[in-house]
Symmetry: C2
Subunit: 438 residues, 2 copies
Amino acid sequence: MRLSRYFIPVLRDDPKEAQIASHRLMLRAGMVRQASAGIYSWLPLGQKVLRRIQEIVHQEQVAAGAIELLMPTLQSADLWRESGRYDDYGKEMLRIRDRHERDLLYGPTNEELVTDIFRQTVKSYKDLPKILYHIQWKFRDEIRPRFGVMRGREFLMKDAYSFDIDSEGSRASYNKMFVAYLRIFARLGLKAVPMAADTGPIGGDMSHEFIILAETGESQVFCDKALLDLDPLAMDVDFDGNLQPIVDQWTGPYAATDEKHDADRFNAQVPVDQQVSARGIEVGHIFNFGTKYSEPMGARVTGPDGALVAAEMGSYGIGVSRLVGAIIEASHDERGIIWPEAVAPFKVGLINLKSGDSTCDSACEDLYARLTKAGVEVLYDDTQDRPGAKFAAMDLIGIPWQVLVGPKGVAAGKFELKCRKTDERIELSADSIVERLT
Amino acid sequence: MRLSRYFIPVLRDDPKEAQIASHRLMLRAGMVRQASAGIYSWLPLGQKVLRRIQEIVHQEQVAAGAIELLMPTLQSADLWRESGRYDDYGKEMLRIRDRHERDLLYGPTNEELVTDIFRQTVKSYKDLPKILYHIQWKFRDEIRPRFGVMRGREFLMKDAYSFDIDSEGSRASYNKMFVAYLRIFARLGLKAVPMAADTGPIGGDMSHEFIILAETGESQVFCDKALLDLDPLAMDVDFDGNLQPIVDQWTGPYAATDEKHDADRFNAQVPVDQQVSARGIEVGHIFNFGTKYSEPMGARVTGPDGALVAAEMGSYGIGVSRLVGAIIEASHDERGIIWPEAVAPFKVGLINLKSGDSTCDSACEDLYARLTKAGVEVLYDDTQDRPGAKFAAMDLIGIPWQVLVGPKGVAAGKFELKCRKTDERIELSADSIVERLT
């Protein structure tokens, strides 16, 4: 993509309304613009990152056996009256009345709606287990929306729902999502730690939050360093097999948020040099809640013995739009964002230090064409801005690799390749650069 | 995908509420379920088709130079007060009040919001032209939602917006979208005819609807057969060049909807044997409306002479969720849907006529593995249903190619390959089937 044709409205100065790094950097890098309080427009760079994250989430959900569908944003209030949550949910639920005076609401979550689909369509234990998921916009009318997309009102969430005939099956579904989540966060370049959690308004008896470590995180977390040394992507995972040993590996060592922290147990269980005390951000939350919804809503199937039983359910959420902010909180410096390659909007930023100079232009065009042809996504800064402004903008938007093309380099047949994360720079021929980046 | 693990809740009987073929078939094939009046959940098969259509739309928008962003579903009423449309829009607009008593609305379209983004970020003619687009859910509170996703209330739309410094540039942007639309509909397997249209509440002085021909279409259309013989995919398109000759080719011959039809002109202009009178469905609508929004909302940029000028704008919509229904209206028979390959949820339906028979099972597993490995998406009916039920279901859901594996075929080393559209059947070896389908 040629920057001259693209749309990245960077800001020179820090926006006043931003209190945290990700909010500040997303506004400055032209990734989002606030449309209303807690409601954002995702500009091209932001939308590209949002898409990358979604793609990884999709791949890992499917790999774990989950099936994609898509439920609407607006739901009927009647369904929520059936589960008893319509009155419980309070002012965070955005309630709407249509032209025929029917009560609707903007879904803050989808347990009721997916249970309704299930009860209409699934009649026998033979059709179980099933894990259904979607990625869809949700709305929670936060009293004080803040921190940009980290605590917005309209937000993008991946939510999955499992249906099993018994609690053993339900545990197996829970484990699948548990392991899928570990893989998702690792692929996004994040260190995520699962922690036993309260179930809150979703309900149920087993629940884990997934917390990623970031200096600017919202809450204090405590854990055994052993958890940070585990690599879920190095583990051999068979989603049709027994995942309990993997789950045990991750739930055995000590890990707790501030609310659940027990200093005595922490000290007794974890050697001092293994103790990690850090800031964390919640990016996922999974629940096993049995028949809390299936029972009142009549989502029953015929069991092997012919008797009707309420489905055992769980739900599994990932804050997709929140993750964009969380990744930035975990990966930035004073100059800007540092994207992990897996979610970077472009892999390479190509900087023409003297646009208009025919040798620089043709060297850039050549590199741009070769990298693009090889399937590498390149943002080519072909604008007339001064080199200093180009360096600053490219550092700000955080593309992992930069290639600098100036008159001296062109004359010598060498170009500077810079790693945004380490700031390492090496001089290479065009051939070597193409080879390295493809 | 193994059907035993998937989720396609087909209906045996015609649903009473469905008045048109696409609505009936989408319900019967388990593609959608109604969640509330005019609001649908997209089940896995429906969501897969919706994704395929979106992908083609994305590719062609990007090829035409449009840039993707993503605006939120909820918008501030204040923006619509600026343009004057808040009061004009009537009861079709879903109006919402949040916990702080602020007026929001569920966007029925996005001219105001995109103009707000533009005026905040673009200051100079040097940054033009720009075409920004997104695919996002919209809501129109239809008084009588009906015909399934063809006339739903919550619907998925692709809307693009162009910004130019003068009307000449704006015309060039309009032409880009005009040609992109022709390509999109052709790639979706549809015959689309552009017709001069009224501008309605969007406004402006130039507008075309894109109408696809379908026997069960909602309106009568009249056109010159020459238009149906044009193939936009066979034309050499340079989106940076002058597209007026292509646009002229498509706007020269006679074409009109019932409302604009002039029988005398039709007869004078089109020889009788070239006259086409058919039913049509509107699937796209494009508008050039100059400064209707940029002027009242103050979206001005500095021109080459230093003076501030209001941006010349256009907007370009495609009903993405409506297209799913429209494609079915254009392509089905009494047995079910007939998907064009480009949007089919799976390319191949593999039917095991005797699940549980070890030779049939292993022949199926072999074909399934080989096709999947070659990147072909296969729906493998591995269930215990009787052959008749499997045939009927596969015809109903409309997968373009069926492979039938029964004991006799396995013994002879031949399997039946059936084309859903033509009903042609041939017997082929496993090798030949894999070769043909990859």
